[in-house]
């Protein structure tokens, strides 16, 4: 019997990446609760407006009418709590006591282990909101307790729909009505003297201006890569048919050539996971079930440094591998990520010629015009393995994508698939922020807010970050870190790093060692959050969590 998820009980941001569903605008709000009663009222008031995972009716295929139907919102609203937020809301000690260590610690305390301590002054670079609490977090009035994420649809002029501001005003008014015993914590930049702290974290997909002057959201992030292609697919996440197709390349590989969706327990508490057990969770189970954990990470992208590095290094690569300089730039970008800038995987198209051929074979038209061609490309972008490339001649073992999702590798025999990977998958949600127009400098605000969702931050997210991104053992790369998002400022070649790109001996060209990789991505703040189910939110609001 397949897992049937109670979609109405699960928050919508767990199962879906809103950015891809037509919500290219975002505003994230951080709050502090100084009185448990006010906090509970706040949660209860907000509850009816929280977006669940219920599927919205398709506007393409009219469905038979049902007794109650959920409407597609203009703004998707979701809520999450830090450990000290749950304390502030008087969640029982027995429930709090079973919360995982890393969640209690919070992200800043884990920074050295996560490799977020790029520079000696890393804490000073964080946004004020995450560093404002200077005393014990349990009592400090600046501790972040609640995160509200608003994801909004967009008008053709590129601005968020009016509902985004309306929802913001509603939250601000609610705080006011509670005598600011629940209050917004501003500081989503590192404000200099005299500068106004940013009240909210504003987010937006990067926009492309069409010939008719309208703006459409692009799936790219600031470095120019097409993002959010390889998210894991798990049981119950999609209708059965979609789930089977989606699992190809994004699920678990069984060693016999088949892919299946990952176990729901890897991403939601209260379900069997890839270890074939229901992992322990805070009691009562009705509080934990259908909830999960999330790492909120604001990642600044040094786009100027990245572009400069690519230009300099591509010239060297062109000489060593005998490529035209323009191609060398694209090759370098692709080798670092594991995908070409448009998302085509190196595993399927290892050369510039193969890349062009892939794009000719899978043109990937507008889904509204040709759904089949669109789906074919989407599947082709995901469905691949590393079986025939154990040495990383096509896709480097140390490329970003191959590090964070080892697919069919790491098993006892090549191509076997491995629980080592299946137990370390993470869902990625988030949107870019800021401007990265040509000529911009890296002291400006631009990057991505990434939200990592998984059932165990320790086992899944932190392992990937520590062992696969900031260490190279499983990629046979010694201490080399991830060329894109790894910590480049520590190690024997500090403050820069190196990245070795294997070369197919058939080409007669030597491997290329990209040198002096500066820090491309810097953490600018974040926290670990618990994303409760709708049941748990109701229990928090009513103060009826009975852990016995």
């Amino acid at each position: 019997m397949a897992v049937a998820l109670d979609l109405a009980d699960i928050q919508g941001n767990i199962l879906s990446a809103y950015g891809k569903l037509g919500f290219p605008k975002g505003r994230f709000i951080t709050l502090h609760v100084s009185d448990p009663d006010a906090g509970r009222k706040f949660v209860t008031e907000l509850l009816p407006g929280i977006t669940t995972a219920l599927r919205w009716p398709s506007h393409r295929k009219p469905a038979p009418p049902v007794p109650a139907e959920v409407r597609r919102p203009d703004v998707a609203v979701n809520i999450a709590f830090s450990f000290y937020g749950l304390c502030a809301l008087d969640v029982p000690t027995r429930t709090l006591g079973k919360m995982p260590d890393e969640f209690v610690d919070g992200m800043m305390k884990r920074a050295p282990m996560l490799g977020d301590n790029f520079f000696p002054d890393w804490k000073d670079k964080w946004d004020d909101v995450w560093t404002a609490a200077k005393t014990a977090r349990l009592t400090d009035r600046e501790t972040v307790h609640i995160l509200i994420t608003l994801n909004a649809q967009m008008n053709p002029d590129g601005n968020a729909v009016a509902a985004l501001q309306a929802k913001t005003d509603e939250i601000e008014a609610l705080c006011k009505s509670l005598d600011h015993k629940v209050r917004v914590l501003p500081g989503h930049t590192h404000a200099g003297p005299g500068e106004e702290p940013a009240r909210y974290q504003e987010l937006s997909a990067i926009m492309i201006r069409m010939p008719d002057g309208t703006l459409v959201p692009s799936p790219q992030e600031h470095f120019g890569y097409t993002d959010a292609i390889g998210d894991p697919v798990f049981e119950g996440q999609y209708p059965l048919k979609t789930e089977r197709a989606g699992a190809k390349g994004n699920g678990a590989f069984d060693g016999a050539g088949n892919w299946r969706p990952l176990a729901a327990g890897e991403f939601l508490l209260g379900y069997p996971d890839e270890a074939q057990e229901i992992a322990g969770a805070p009691m009562p189970l009705s509080f934990s079930r259908n909830g999960t954990f999330m790492a909120y990470r604001k990642l600044h992208q040094n786009v100027h440094a990245f572009r400069k590095f690519i230009d300099t290094t591509a010239a060297d690569l062109a000489k060593v591998w005998g490529l035209p300089v323009a191609d060398a730039g694209e090759v370098l970008i692709a080798k670092m990520a594991g995908r070409w800038s448009d998302g085509v995987p190196l595993a399927r198209a290892p050369t510039v010629a193969a890349w062009k051929q892939f794009n000719a074979q899978y043109p990937g038209l507008d889904p509204r015009k040709d759904r089949r061609a669109y789906d074919e490309r989407e599947h082709a972008l995901r469905d691949f393995r590393y079986k025939d490339d154990p040495q990383g001649l096509k896709c480097p073992l140390t490329s970003h994508m191959r590090r964070v999702n080892t697919r069919d590798m790491l098993g006892p025999t090549p191509d076997a698939g491995s629980v080592l990977n299946n137990r370390r998958r993470i869902l990625r949600r988030g949107l870019p922020y800021g401007d990265s127009s040509p000529g911009i400098t890296d002291d400006k605000e631009h990057g991505i807010v990434m939200m990592v969702v998984c059932a165990s931050l320790f086992r899944q997210y932190e392992f990937v970050q520590q062992q696969w991104i900031n260490y190279g053992l499983d990629s046979s790369a010694g201490n080399d870190t991830d060329p894109l998002v790894g910590n480049h400022a520590k190690g024997v070649r500090a403050p820069n790093a190196k990245f070795v790109i294997a070369s197919d001996p058939k080409t007669g060209r030597p491997p290329f060692i990209a040198r002096d990789l500066p820090q491309f991505v810097e953490t600018r703040g974040g926290e670990y959050f618990f994303v409760p189910s709708m049941t748990a939110l109701r229990m928090i609001g009513m103060g009826t969590i009975d852990p016995t």
Binding site: K319, V320, K490
Partner: protein, 334 residues
């Protein structure tokens, strides 16, 4: 997997810790408490890039035979709870489940020392020579720790008596681990053929003997003259059976004897060669980065520069010289 394996001696020692209270500074405390504090104060391996060029503060890094040294305190053996028995059996034996079963405990805490070091053989001479070297390089550190162990102050005066003291506390190492094989070690093949032949022949003798004996017993009812062959056939069965048992026993003993033989030492598995390899690996990476553009150049000048560069690299790093330049022991440089 014995105490000596693959060119390394795996020393396992359990030293009883004294149980008489001691004066430690201004407080009177238990020896195990004072000892644990000394262990916490022992400097460990230096790691991180900052220490890559420096020396290690760990006293174990002062000799060049140590691969790994681990020291731990065993306070007591763990109690795993009642030995569970089938409920019906317990009831039949009138077992009172609230009566505690006997529990095992140690009469004193023990200091566990586990070291693997380079050695030419598993002989006691090799062990004692290592312990002498250890005493000569870290006598003060060893005294500060072992003074809390039973009999140490009375028995140990010098390197020789230290080696004798440790030898008394040594246990056989039964699970050792080597990770320095670049290629599969060349292992002698167990000579299966003579045992298979011996086994087959004795089994055939046994089967033929039994078959003929049975045939004669049945046929003997009809023709008594055939019975004269019965003792010979029965004898053949016995000979076959005994031979088969002997072959099986010999094979078992031979396998066990082969299992006790240590694996051959891996190439380049001594600490100085490992340290030199780590040094060369790091500096050669730097060389490859600095010279990759020359390696890619097709002109004679690039080739000459590469040649000169490599010559200078070899001259500076002396790949054949294990002493220097090399990575200092006890330092993990990432």
């Amino acid at each position: 997997m014995p105490t000596f394996d693959g060119g390394h001696y795996f020393l396992t020692v359990l030293i009883p810790i004294s149980t008489k209270h001691v004066q430690d500074g201004t407080t009177v405390t238990s020896p195990v408490h004072a000892l644990r504090k000394r262990l916490d104060m022992l400097p460990t391996t230096a790691d991180g890039p900052a220490s890559a060029g420096g020396t290690s503060p760990s006293p174990f890094a002062r000799n060049t035979r140590n691969h790994f040294a681990r020291v731990a305190i065993i306070d007591d053996v763990a109690y795993n709870g009642r030995t569970v028995r089938d409920t019906l059996v317990s009831a039949a034996l009138s077992t009172v489940l609230t009566d505690a079963q006997p529990q095992d405990h140690l009469h004193c805490p023990f200091l566990l020392v586990s070291v693997d070091f380079d050695a030419a053989s598993g002989s006691d001479v090799e062990r004692d020579s290592y312990l002498t070297e250890l005493w000569n390089t870290m006598e003060g550190d060893l005294r500060a720790i072992l003074t809390f162990c039973q009999g140490f102050d009375a028995q140990v005066k010098d390197a020789k008596s230290f080696a004798a003291y440790i030898a008394k506390c040594q246990l056989e190492t039964t699970m050792s681990f080597n990770d320095y094989y670049i290629d599969d070690p060349k292992l002698p093949v167990w000579p299966a053929t003579p045992f298979l032949w011996g086994g087959a022949l004795s089994a055939i003798a046994l089967l033929v003997g039994v078959a003929v004996t049975l045939f004669l017993l049945i046929a003997g009812w009809f023709t008594s003259s055939m019975q004269q062959w019965l003792p010979a056939a029965f004898g053949l069965s016995i000979v076959g059976l005994v031979a088969l048992l002997l072959v099986v026993a010999a094979a078992y003993l031979s396998v066990m004897a082969a299992g006790r033989k240590p694996f051959p030492a891996a190439s380049y598995a001594t600490l100085p060669t490992v340290l030199k390899a780590l040094h060369l690996q790091r500096v050669f990476t730097g060389f490859a980065i600095e010279h990759q553009m020359q390696a890619a150049g097709a002109d004679a000048a690039s080739a000459q520069q590469l040649y000169d560069g490599f010559k200078a690299f070899v001259a500076a790093n002396k790949p054949d010289d294990l002493q220097a330049p090399t990575q200092p022991p006890g330092v993990i440089g990432i």
